[in-house]
């Protein structure tokens, strides 16, 4: 291929890549004269060069595109259709270019189809010669708007209301990218790679020299070596910088992708890119491209709701996807944010259960936040249905795998009904890595510095002692239990582990590491020094060993393996799941208050209100007019039946628009609680600061720094259920006396009306001691439902006390608990409980009671 053609190909390829995001922006801001000019110039240059070099097929196509673009420059309105045609033309040009690169000649074929459409569009422009004096914001078409067009005013408004920096951001990149590039030299990637390898070798040689001098002590080489060292470091830095590319290169294709997605999905989505100038190593850049594309696609497909859905939720019709990049220390942080519907913990729980990733008992123990991490597990995809866009079986697990492969981490920063934010942290470069050299057994290994938090010396002379729980080593560090991994054990190294030598009592060190959200310790025999390693990938033969991410040559010339923090984190997860599980449960339970997910909302008053999320079945919205009043009760048609809607005292009913409603389900009967606005979902330990006697309220608590009223759902539930269950309607009115023991007023308030609504006579007490007082007084019950975790006498002890009791010994006992570990269930059974029900599992409780009634035939 001759040089001229080669240059042309590179240059044109770059120009087209530049053009794509410009075009998509152009569609949104058609009256940005500067941008229009820039695009026109680009097309023009492509056309010109093609003609010059004798590429007629290309020239013809570019010419037709240019003609149309020229009309836009002259003020013709831009339509969605025309941008689509121009984009297809660019695709065709790319296709021809790739053939050209392979064969050195334009492929056979005709572009008449596209040329014709371009020409048609150009001819169809009635305003072609209607040139406004300025490219001002008040440009008039002089004719009514056609289908698919919007007025300039509207566009302008949309643009102005769009979040983000002002118009500056538009003009700036256009200027920067399109300005004549002076003082730059184009060099091939291969050349750059070679330079990098050479510098890596230089670093290596320097390290070897430093090592020699270190060993020899005094040496006349010392000061020249110092200089060599500095120069090498500078050179290394320089080459690294040359390899850096703005991250914008990785997301160049995203605006077009989002545009096409929004057309295909019928949603309107705005993509905002922030921090595109952030630079990172081109190798990292290549590797991050696909995961980013995938995540943006996910956000657009699954995250952003349809315009109608958004309007109903009170959100702006246009959805926003935002990419933000920036540098934080030696890492690049990229955030992908959307303002869509957020992840549904309930859906994920269901999916996790359905795909056997976890059992119900395990899920019960996990907070919503922990549940979200399931989306990163292999074999998990939340898309309810497979769409054309995503959900092709490739999910976030692949994204995570790709990111972790380059030593990065990905986490869900936050998710709520207001949207989702993912946060990716990746190293600036892969080629050179600062690492800690440690010894395990008789061998040295390198641990990447980026995941090392601190070093803790343990042993006889240290304040930190190694402890073992059932042979699993743990370290007590600042009042927290740190799970430990023994590196030698993990690598199955042969160590002299006979009791006489007490290997770990010598002077072992714990390397405290953090990976993702996990913190753990790695037990090593000793720690040497830190060294910058030139990382090389492991040989194909050894790539299946997950424990190593690569290898490198040390200053002394030996080969060292680099431990992969991902593999350590995975190993700790395995340990965690087996031996340490019970331990953690214990620790959790000792913790003062466990976090509760709360739905924060406003209703009737400006003060925030909250209810535990676990009580809510769904969040719904109903057209205000669809809520009917019947016999003084508000009802709405819901899933083929009438659902009562309860309003807060003093709450103004909406005249029109959408009424947000929290749906609670009792014994398969839904009831709606109308609210004014859903504010947030937060997860915090719930401590009721002030209790109140006000009906409908449990009290007030501080949630996220705001005084928040905690709503007594049972109060409203009783109202709602009462609305439907008029006297006589209670199908199963039975004469069964139930004793409910629970220290939490909240649960007593919630459960008592429920039980009553189901036909039970309920006596509720706040402690086992109170229950025993009732026993002394000779009260009789048919069933006892008791909480397990209570201050003073707990549920288990209470059950033990009743064993063999003349009066109460035969009453069936049902345990209520928020935990459901198999060990606990066994304990309750041994203590004499006939059944164990989750605290929030209301249906389970009702079924269990029903069953007890049948079994012990205590029904009247």
């Amino acid at each position: 291929m001759d040089e001229l053609l080669g240059d042309f190909l590179t240059e044109t390829g770059e120009r087209i890549d530049l053009l794509e995001p410009e075009l998509v922006r152009f569609e949104r801001e058609p009256n940005n004269a500067e941008m229009l000019n820039a695009i026109f110039r680009l097309v023009h240059t492509i056309k010109g060069t093609c003609g010059f070099i004798g590429l007629h097929r290309l020239a013809k196509l570019a010419h037709a595109a240019e003609t149309l673009m020229g009309q836009y420059r002259d003020g013709a309105p831009v339509t969605v259709e025309s941008v689509s045609v121009i984009l297809s033309s660019l695709d065709r040009i790319k296709l021809i270019l790739s053939e050209l690169e392979k064969t050195g000649a334009e492929p056979m074929g005709s572009d008449d189809d596209l040329v014709e459409r371009l020409e048609q569009l150009a001819l169809a422009q009635p305003g072609a010669n209607l040139k406004p004096a300025e490219f001002s914001f008040v440009g008039e078409l002089g004719r009514p708007l056609q289908l698919g067009e919007v007025s300039l005013d509207e566009l302008e408004r949309a643009w102005l209301t769009a979040p983000g920096p002002d118009g500056l951001v538009v003009a700036e990149p256009a200027n920067r990218d399109l300005a004549p590039r002076s003082q730059t030299v184009r060099i091939s990637v291969d050349m750059l790679e070679n330079l990098m390898t050479t510098v890596s070798e230089l670093v290596l040689t320097r390290n070897q020299l430093l090592d020699l001098v270190r060993k020899n002590g005094k040496s006349e080489f010392k000061s020249p070596l110092q200089r060599l060292s500095t120069v090498t470091a500078e050179l290394q830095e320089g080459i690294m910088k040359a390899r850096l590319q703005p991250i914008a290169n990785a997301w160049q294709k995203l605006p077009r992708l989002v545009r096409e997605l929004s057309l295909n999905l019928g949603k309107s989505i705005d993509l905002e890119l922030d921090g595109g100038e952030t630079e990172l190593d081109r190798q990292v850049l290549e590797l991050i491209k696909d995961p980013l594309t995938h995540m943006v696609r996910n956000a657009a497909d699954h995250g952003i709701e349809s315009s109608e859905e958004r309007t109903r939720a009170g959100k702006p019709a246009m959805g926003h996807v935002k990419l933000r990049a920036g540098q934080e220390g030696g890492s690049i942080v990229i955030e992908v944010e959307d303002d869509g519907r957020g992840l549904s913990a309930a859906k994920i729980r269901y999916k996790a259960l359905a795909s056997h990733l976890a059992t119900q008992a395990e899920l019960n123990r996990l907070s919503d936040y922990e549940v979200f991490s399931f989306i990163f597990r292999p074999g998990f995809s939340t898309a309810g249905e497979v769409t054309e866009i995503s959900g092709r079986g490739v999910g976030m697990d692949v994204v995570r795998a790709n990111i972790e492969e380059i030593g990065g981490t990905i986490e869900l920063k936050s998710t709520s009904i207001a949207g989702t934010i993912f946060r990716i942290k990746i190293p600036l470069t892969l080629a050179i890595m600062p690492a800690l050299i440690v010894a395990a057994g008789a061998q040295c290994f390198a641990i990447p510095q980026f995941s090392v938090m601190e070093l803790v010396r343990v042993g006889d002379n240290s304040e930190h002692q190694l402890e073992r729980i059932n042979a699993t080593p743990v370290l007590r560090l600042r009042d927290k239990l740190l799970p430990l991994l023994d590196l030698a054990e993990l690598l199955r190294l042969e160590v002299d582990d006979s009791p006489d030598t007490k290997r770990h009592d010598a002077a072992p060190t714990v390397v405290v590491m953090q990976h993702g959200r996990k913190t753990f310790g790695v037990l090593v025999d000793s720690v040497f020094h830190a060294e910058d390693l030139v990382v090389k990938p492991m040989s194909q033969l050894l790539r299946d060993i997950k424990m190593f991410s690569g290898n490198a040559i040390l200053g002394d010339g030996s080969v060292i393996m680099i431990i992969d923090p991902n593999a350590l984190a995975a190993a700790i997860a395995a340990v965690d799941a087996t031996e340490l599980k019970d331990l953690f449960v214990e620790v959790e339970r000792d913790a003062p208050v466990a976090a509760t997910s709360l739905l924060v909302f406003r209703a009737a008053a400006p003060m925030l209100k909250a209810v535990p999320l676990s009580l809510i079945t769904r969040l719904e919205e109903f057209e205000a007019s669809s809520i009917e009043t019947m016999d003084g009760d508000e009802l709405v048609q819901y899933r083929g039946a009438l659902m009562p809607i309860v309003f807060f005292e003093g709450q103004r009913r909406r005249e029109s628009g959408m009424q947000p409603v929290l749906v609670f389900t009792e014994a398969d009967r839904p009831m709606g609680l109308a609210v004014d606005e859903i504010v947030d979902i937060v997860e915090e330990p719930l401590t009721i600061e002030i209790t109140t006697d006000k009906p409908g309220l449990i009290g007030a608590a501080i949630v996220r720094g705001n005084a928040t009223e905690i709503v007594d759902v049972s109060h409203y539930l009783a109202k709602g259920v009462g609305a439907r269950l008029k006297p006589g309607q209670l199908a199963t009115k039975r004469d069964i006396a139930v004793l409910l023991i629970d220290d939490s007023q909240f649960f007593r308030n919630m459960l008592a009306p429920l039980l009553e609504a189901n036909g039970y006579r309920v006596t509720a007490v706040g402690s086992a001691e109170e229950a025993l007082v009732l026993k002394e007084r000779g009260s009789a019950f048919d069933l006892i439902v008791s909480d397990l975790e209570m201050p003073g006498m707990d549920g288990i002890a209470f059950a033990e006390t009743l064993k063999g009791d003349e009066a109460w010994g035969k009453i069936p006992l049902v345990a209520l608990s928020s935990y459901g570990s198999p060990r606990l269930i066994e304990q309750t059974r041994n203590a004499g409980f006939v059944s164990h029900v989750g605290k929030f599992d209301r249906k389970g409780l009702m079924d269990t009671l029903e069953e007890c009634c049948k079994k012990w035939s205590c029904a009247a």
């Binding site: 290596l204 040989s539 194909q540 033969l541 050894l542 060993i545 424990m547 030996s558 080969v559 060292i560």
Partner: protein
């Protein structure tokens, strides 16, 4: 196997000795011969991998032919030599007991593996030459490096 030993032409082999057996390696595939020094064993690696070493700034994966053939370990005192092989841009060292001369042999004289050859051997050998000094087994370099990568 016969297509590898197509008649006509001659082929060059590097002869190596391991556990008393003479093996022939394709000369084209052999990059250099070196003494493996400073081996770092690789934990969790397949048994065939003797370790990693630094050869003039490049990391070499040493594969022990003895272990590959399921033979007993080499005596520590016995000298070892490695044959450098480049494969898909990576450098491997096939560790043997000793390296002999280069032989040019007509392909036609190559005979198929005896049917009763040990399975491990048959997997990596693609023929036998009857030489005056004894039998020389031709080792397929690609197959020597293709073994089960899970730790054993």
């Amino acid at each position: 196997m016969t297509e590898h030993c197509a008649p006509s032409e001659e082929q060059d082999f590097v002869t190596v000795v391991t556990a008393g057996q003479v093996f022939g390696l394709d000369l084209d595939r052999v990059r250099d011969v070196f003494v493996p020094r400073g081996l770092s064993p690789v934990p969790l690696a397949p048994n065939e991998v003797a370790g990693l070493l630094n050869l003039r700034g490049r990391i070499v994966t040493a594969v022990d032919l003895r272990r590959r053939l399921g033979l007993g370990p080499r005596h520590d005192s016995a000298p070892a030599v490695a044959v450098g092989i480049e494969e898909r841009g990576e450098l491997y060292g096939l560790v043997v007991d000793g390296v002999g001369e280069v032989l040019r042999l007509p392909r036609s004289r190559c005979e198929a593996n005896p049917v009763n050859l040990d399975e491990r051997w048959a997997e990596i050998c693609r023929g036998v030459y009857q030489l005056d000094e004894g039998l020389m087994v031709i080792v397929d370099v690609d197959k020597v490096l293709a073994f089960d990568r899970t730790a054993s």
